[in-house]
Symmetry: C2
Subunit: 138 residues, 2 copies
Amino acid sequence: MPIELSATDRLRESGIRVTVPRRIIFQYLIDNKTHPTCDRIYNDLKDTNSSLSLATVYNVTEKLVQENLVNVFVAPDGEHHYDSITEFHGHLYCEQCMTIFDFKSKPDKIPDILKGAVIKSVSYMAVGHCPECAKKRK
Amino acid sequence: MPIELSATDRLRESGIRVTVPRRIIFQYLIDNKTHPTCDRIYNDLKDTNSSLSLATVYNVTEKLVQENLVNVFVAPDGEHHYDSITEFHGHLYCEQCMTIFDFKSKPDKIPDILKGAVIKSVSYMAVGHCPECAKKRK
DNA sequence: GATATAATTTATAGTAATTCTAAATTATGG
DNA sequence: CCATAATTTAGAATTACTATAAATTATATC
């Protein structure tokens, strides 16, 4: 069984300063694989971390993305969503309940026409209705 | 050779009212496969169509998406981009020149866990540097 | 452990994409 | 041509996100 590193350890490993906001936000993302937005993270953390600022959540999530500790993608709602699962997978965005579901998926090979391109990340987004919402619509 | 229907004919075919803004915006999207935003469409059309309003561009593009005449996707810039190519394909977003490149790609099968889901559209987005910008960086 | 300093956090103001609203205009069926 | 319902339009409102600058804090060095 591989040893799970804590948020703190993984921050230290990547060589950036370990601060309270970075620890709690990264740990929140590890614990909540619900693809939250900055606003969501802020609202869930502000009660137990009264000095936390929304601007800090924006700063920290951006830093975590730069350090490849989390992934970011823009959903059809136009908002940036954060994801501590960094392995490639697909997302289904349900237009009714606005939940984002994960599914297994392999990234496509980028074709020859784009040879020489540097790919930093890929995201696969399906838009529609999740099984539960689809059932309700019938 | 298949006969290319004009924007007007395709609007009429889909049963919605044919208006000047719908004709010129749809025709613009057919002619300009550059994944423009509403703002871009508006700025390119306003000089030759002085009564056109930005709000109308937002209204019309939304309607064209509803009627499946064009596709929409949200790029990493957080903006909605419109595309008159409705067949599935991948996009590469170049972070330097901010151009969006098309490439051939097949949509992934949505797995069993999401059986019952209704998929309305899918988009595959790679983020990085296009061949030209990648070369300049070296 | 105290201290210097550079990075980070924070509150607030600013920006820009998008949506809302309500009045004016226009497409279509009769 | 006329009625009417849909659409367009301008401008105000909203909101995700960014910029700014002062206060705070993590880390290296003594």
